[in-house]
Symmetry: C2
Subunit: 297 residues, 2 copies
């Protein structure tokens, strides 16, 4: 499950509670598209805003509706105590793997982050993906720290935040990390705008936000890159440039994909946890036009 396309759906809300019906609708699209894995309760899955009980329920629903598609469940929390509970809940729900970011309030040290992964992996019976996302966790991994954590039991993948767009620099970035981690640990790219670049540079999996809503286009890009058609992967990704620009303009992908889900009737409006707001007014109208133009709507 740590290769190909891992699609991360929204956890849409309705009246500040998880909209289970809408969530199931999003899951179905991913199962029908036969993505390689479904990742729930990632950043796009709003894990940071949900209660323990809600997260447990989301994990259960995901496993229940995923059929044979493996489900990876985000277990991150500020407090190790809560991470361990989330890990238990995810495994009890039938998760095939868990995803763990070093979420922070007080800035964390490298040693604290290592001890976090050490404590969690010691309790796991399923594989773990290390979630490196400094834009939300405000923790920056060194490659040396990745190397140490990748030796821990159950660690099977690292979700890196992106790669440089220059092909040579991208290869160097992936090779540098690859040299420090065991062969059984895959490297996955996130940051949708540079996913094609990452896959072309040797990343084995795309941890994809856009793939959580539009799995087919993400699959085309992934397949082209993994079939060693790098130019085709780039061409397909470049078609989505206006989408990547919107992601950059709105502080990341979440507000844009949430708005797209609302536009397509796949989620109620508002579907984000307050105080987060989706796009509105003219920005929402422009996104609707863009989805049409891209053939996504």
């Amino acid at each position: 499950m740590f290769s190909g396309l891992a699609a991360f759906p929204l956890t849409p809300l309705k009246n500040d509670e998880v909209d289970e019906h809408a969530f199931i609708g999003l899951l179905k699209r991913l199962v029908e598209a036969k993505v390689n894995a479904i990742g729930v309760l990632g950043s796009t899955g709003n894990y940071a805003y949900l209660s323990r009980e809600e997260r447990k329920r989301v994990a259960e629903i995901a496993v229940q509706h995923a059929n044979t598609t493996p489900v990876m469940v985000g277990i991150s929390a500020l407090n190790l105590r809560d991470v361990l509970v989330n890990a238990q809940d995810a495994q009890a729900a039938g998760a095939s793997a868990v995803l763990l970011a070093p979420m922070s309030y007080q800035p964390l040290t490298e040693n604290e982050v290592f001890k976090l992964y050490e404590a969690v992996t010691a309790t796991l019976s399923v594989p773990l993906c290390v979630y490196d996302n400094p834009g939300t966790t405000h923790f920056t991994f060194s490659d040396e720290l990745h190397g140490r954590i990748a030796q821990l039991p159950q660690v099977r993948s690292i979700k890196i935040p992106g790669v440089p767009k220059d092909p040579q620099a991208a290869v160097e970035r992936v090779d540098r990390l690859r040299a420090l981690i065991p062969d059984h640990v895959s490297i996955g790219v996130s940051g949708d705008a540079c996913a094609a670049h990452g896959l072309n540079a040797g990343c084995e999996v795309w941890y994809s936000v856009i793939g959580g809503l539009y799995p087919e286009i993400a699959q085309s890009i992934t397949t082209a890159a993994l079939n060693r058609e790098p130019q085709e992967a780039l061409r397909l990704s470049q078609q989505l440039t206006p989408m990547w620009e919107l992601f950059a303009r709105h502080g990341g992908s979440l507000r844009v994909v949430a708005t797209a889900a609302e536009i397509q009737g796949l989620a109620d409006s508002p579907c984000l946890p307050r105080p987060l707001s989706a796009l509105a007014g003219k920005e929402k109208e422009a996104l609707a036009v863009l989805l049409d133009n891209l053939g996504l709507a």
Copy 2:
């Protein structure tokens, strides 16, 4: 309560749960020292790492043991839904005021932060202090946004993250904010190392971490500054320079004051929520020597 010294005690843990006995011991020191206000569940109070029930209990214990000292209770959370619940709990516990930071996981926009304060203040029956702490929230207020939020009902103070050490620049910084907010909203300085500078520059209150453990020394600095003895305030603060240097070296004040509390037998070791770690080994020994030298132990 929004002038003078507001002291922010640790919420010490023991076996990953709130150590109520140790917490009551810390509160007693503050009551005996007659600080102007006690601020619980600030960043030093580990609010971000505690459950709703734990936060409710901490607020209740604080009010119960504060006698006539007003208690301000931190209500921040990532999700507005949880902030509103925390506000209800704090008010039900008898809080004299609440403290709200724009805690973030997804980066917040100015508009989202304004709407957060608007929604919360609309429900409050006690005053609110705006908590501006970009080091942990990763949100940077513009002065213009402070001005808009300060007009909302119940807003009575702004806890700013610090001031420049240059006296003229500090006065300019405080005056610029003062010009944008109503007279009934006080400006309080945090960032202990520049508290004397902030009070000398016109801040009316020190929201103090060191004062949560060592109220007397923080009171001396506050009193000197508010009595218009700026040189004496600076002299007293400069005596604590090795402490301020330790704060800077350990990513903020929390790990250092937690270690100091452990050294003095005021909290068990470890007293921080994992994965956070207090100082250990030689660093802890050096802090013990420093506390002795400063006459704090």
